[in-house]
């Protein structure tokens, strides 16, 4: 038997998951132009794996995108290697923007669902006011 409190709890799980996705996306965008220094790998794009089920969502973990880094030939760059190549992070800003819009819309939808459940609880309480 499900109740409106369950509905609100599910919305809350959706809200926190989407907010975490937004955090990770922000971190990706902030690191879009990170370079590898001293032979180390630059920033790898991160993605959130989400586990869903009949009672809300939870965060499965953060996975790193294993796609290749963006290597640019910039001999003048102080971070260039012996061949004059600089490796930048594998973040695609456009892709991140699209994901961000998706996460932000999903967040708003969860807020709408939460408010709807709240409205229903309030109207259930009016039954008592005869």
């Amino acid at each position: 038997m499900s109740s409106l409190n369950d509905a609100m709890r599910i919305s809350a799980s959706g809200l926190s998951t989407e907010r975490f996705r937004l955090d990770v996306i922000s971190s990706n965008i902030a690191n879009a132009n990170s370079v590898g220094v001293n032979g180390q790998d630059p920033y790898r794009r991160r993605d959130v794996s989400v586990i869903g089920g009949p009672d809300g969502v939870k965060i499965g973990g953060v996975v790193e995108d294993q796609s290749p880094f963006r290597v640019v030939h910039e001999p003048g760059n102080p971070n260039a290697d012996a061949q004059g190549n600089v490796s930048y992070s594998n973040v695609e800003p456009v892709q991140e923007m699209v994901n961000m819009m998706g996460a932000s819309r999903a967040y708003e939808a969860n807020v709408a669902a939460f408010n709807s459940a709240k409205g229903m609880i309030n109207s259930a309480l009016t039954i008592g006011k005869v």
């Binding site: 959706g14 969502v57 709408a112 709807s116």
Partner: protein, 119 residues
């Protein structure tokens, strides 16, 4: 005793059933929305005849209990089939329906009260 049983009997019972069904639908649609970005998630819903079923039971017709259905179609590459617009629309509809039901229940009790007080 029988009069009182009739007073509080079928109508309130049916309102209650309809409201609990609206609650169930609300929580399923909420779950669909929470899982809008979960790969492979399939949307769930209840069948729609919630007021009809109560009436059918009252008339002695075979009624259907709320039945959770899973839609196994796919509209996205990741196997998820949640359509945000449909879910939000369903939520708004369920909320309005629930408000109507609470209003009706409230009116019912109000009527009872005015009968009891005789004013």
């Amino acid at each position: 005793m029988r009069i009182i049983d009739n007073l509080f009997g079928p109508a309130v019972d049916n309102y209650g059933k309809a409201m609990s069904r609206a609650t169930l639908r609300q929580s399923l649609l909420t779950n669909n929305l929470a899982n809008v970005n979960t790969p492979g998630y399939k949307r769930r819903d209840v069948s729609f005849d919630m007021t009809l079923s109560g009436e059918q039971k009252k008339l002695g017709l075979p009624g259907r209990d709320s039945e959770i259905t899973t839609d196994n179609s796919s509209i996205r590459v990741d196997g998820n089939n949640v359509d945000m617009e449909t879910e939000v629309m369903g939520l708004a509809e369920t909320e309005t329906r629930y408000n109507a039901l609470t209003e009706m229940t409230s009116n019912y009790f109000g009527d009872l009260k005015s009968v009891i007080k005789g004013s």
